[in-house]
Amino acid sequence: MVTNPSIDTHPLSAEVGQEPLLAVDNLHVEFTTRQGVVRAVNGVSYTVHAGESLAVLGESGSGKSVTAQAIMGILDMPPARIPKGEIRFRGTDMLKLSDQARSQIRGQRIAMVFQDALSALNPVFTVGWQIGEMFRVHRGMSKRDAQKKAIELMERVRIPAARQRVNDYPHQFSGGMRQRIMIAMSIALDPEVLIADEPTTALDVTVQAQIMELLAELQRESNMGLILITHDLGVVADVADKIAVMYAGRIVEGAPVHDVYKNPAHPYSKGLLDSIPRVDQKGQELYAIKGLPPNLLDMPSGCAFHPRCPYRRDNCVTDVPPLYEISGTRGSACHYYREVLDGTLG
């Protein structure tokens, strides 16, 4: 029953009969800072298959974005370091590839959409030029063909009057439209995996709905694997197939999305779900997870969540819980996951 999270037994990789597109396996990332070594990612494993949406849910400092940056190879090293772990794309460990071979995969077969579209776009070039650059650089297209492709892509992400707006500059677009341009750039080379890091956090609700709908449609059209990194439990419930809840650099619960929302198996995911107000219910006092997320420089002993956990027992302070396998597709890093599931702990 007790397993170390390895690729074969890991609940998030146990999809049958299909090789995952992307597998993160026991990944560790450290940062050297003035105050000491920060272990930002501490043995994270997850997989994404074609056409599948994985939501990585966590608060700031949980390591969810650092994991994505490690996949994309956009961590600054140093101060960052990957002491352990593998990131396999179609079975090949990207961390062992040459820089050149790696850059063939990153950006082309794995692409990323960032939160802040305004700062991710270059203000002195037209959007058409920036989208077209993908084709000029990676596909050696002529300027004219690249421009034509850029217009096609802008239409694909539903930017109205794409032909007229292709020579506009980023600041002439609204926030939602800029995010569409970012998405157009990321899907330009038909990636197999798309990583979206908080793609709608900076946007209004109605625009957020438009963008999430667009992402879902694009995914359906091209059968991409989607990794959605977010702190928003509502967005996760809307689009994800499975979910990895991260806390202090580890996955504390990994499961199909319906399972987690119906009956969370980790006190942290349970606390999060209980602590958010809902638009469809007028609630009583909110349940509040007490305390603060841990200081990564001074991590609590045992289970990192134990100082904030209402169900804490003595061994939680001393023993680091492994990711216990609950079923073929579900895991929880809580010594007492059974009691959490049954509701018999209090």
Partner: protein, 336 residues
């Protein structure tokens, strides 16, 4: 929830236009950004009025007008019957004791060069009549305790605290002068999910303890629903719908409110395929050049000729609450 006789804030026809000018030496006005364009509402003692809307709807300008940080182009902001928008000097300063604010960003709203004690004690230095000098340190420590911070941390600096703790410091500063009204401008949107609940519970506890009235401005409709007694929905500088919270959330009659509610992701994957979604096309128009008649008509699926010609007034319509739509029609979009 809101005894009608206990009205402490009356806002009437509040308008704020920011002039758009051209030329450097000889400036001439070529237009105006109509950030707030005729807003009226009341606030009662101990009540929370939620204000929701998307960026650019004027809700942040509204907060500044209520705090007299901006002067309105026209209209009134009456606190206990006195118009704060026309008050000056000592009178304005005295009125400020009664209305305070909690700001969105806990990282920029506290002066990084001041200790927590100086920040929370500054209201007493500005209004020295409130607390005698020798008593201030004790009062600051009491305030820290009320908002759930360790009073011994009085000599620490803001950067030594986490986001949620900083927001508590901001709340303590807002409470210091014992105001009756607190304007909360997106007070939890910059915080982590697990910290949001702590701060919202704190705000609710303080409201009960001190009978505070809140104006709670936010873009997150779930948060607003949780904390508000009444809710105002703003679009392009105007209130389009105003009513008790269950009226707005369960019986919305304005198409914009319905679209807004349907777009909110519900943290429950069950039934996500069957949920009704009204996906609005395009972006809100510029507040410098709002559409004629009803401002929402350019994105509205119900729009007809009359919407371009006549501006719908905010009045009690079907559903029993205030709504500004010619074709107001109750439609429960979230299935509550």
């Amino acid at each position: 929830m809101a005894p009608s006789g206990d009205r402490i804030l009356e806002v009437r026809d509040l308008v704020k236009h920011f002039p758009l000018t051209q030329g450097i030496v000889l400036k001439r006005q070529i237009g105006a950004i109509k950030a707030v364009d005729g807003v009226s509402f009341d606030l009662h003692r101990g009540e929370t009025l939620g204000v929701v809307g998307e960026s650019g709807c004027g809700k942040s300008t509204l907060a500044k007008l209520l705090m007299a940080l901006e002067r309105p182009t026209s209209g009134e902001v009456k606190i206990n019957g006195v118009d704060m928008a026309k008050a000056h000097g000592g009178e304005l300063k005295r009125m400020r004791r009664n209305i305070q604010m909690v700001m969105q960003d806990p990282y920029t709203s506290l002066n990084p060069r001041m200790t927590v004690g100086d920040i929370v004690g500054e209201p007493f230095e500005i209004h020295s009549e409130v607390a005698p000098k020798g008593d201030r340190r004790r009062k600051v420590q009491e305030l820290l305790e009320v908002v759930g911070l360790n009073p011994e941390h009085i000599n620490r600096y803001p950067h030594q605290f986490s986001g949620g703790q900083r927001q508590r410091i901001g709340i303590a500063r807002g409470l210091a002068l014992q105001p009756e009204i607190i304007i909360c401008d997106e007070p939890v949107s910059a915080l982590d999910v697990s910290i949001q609940a702590q701060v919202m519970n704190l705000l609710e506890r303080l409201q009960n303890e001190f009978n505070l009235a809140y104006i709670f401005i936010a873009h997150d409709l779930s948060v607003v629903r949780h904390i508000s007694d009444r809710v105002a929905v703003m679009y392009l500088g105007k209130i389009v719908e105003l009513g008790k919270d269950d009226a707005i959330y369960e019986r919305p009659s304005h198409p914009y409110t319905q679209a807004l509610l349907s777009a909110v992701p519900v943290p429950d994957p069950e039934g996500r395929e069957t949920r009704e979604r009204i996906i609005l096309q395009g972006d809100p128009p510029s507040p410098a050049d709002p559409p004629s008649g009803c401002r929402f008509r350019t994105r509205c699926w119900k729009a007809q000729d009359v919407c371009a010609e006549h501006e719908p007034l905010l009045e009690v319509r079907t559903g029993g609450h205030l709504s500004a739509c010619h074709f107001a029609e109750v439609h429960d979009v979230i299935g509550a």
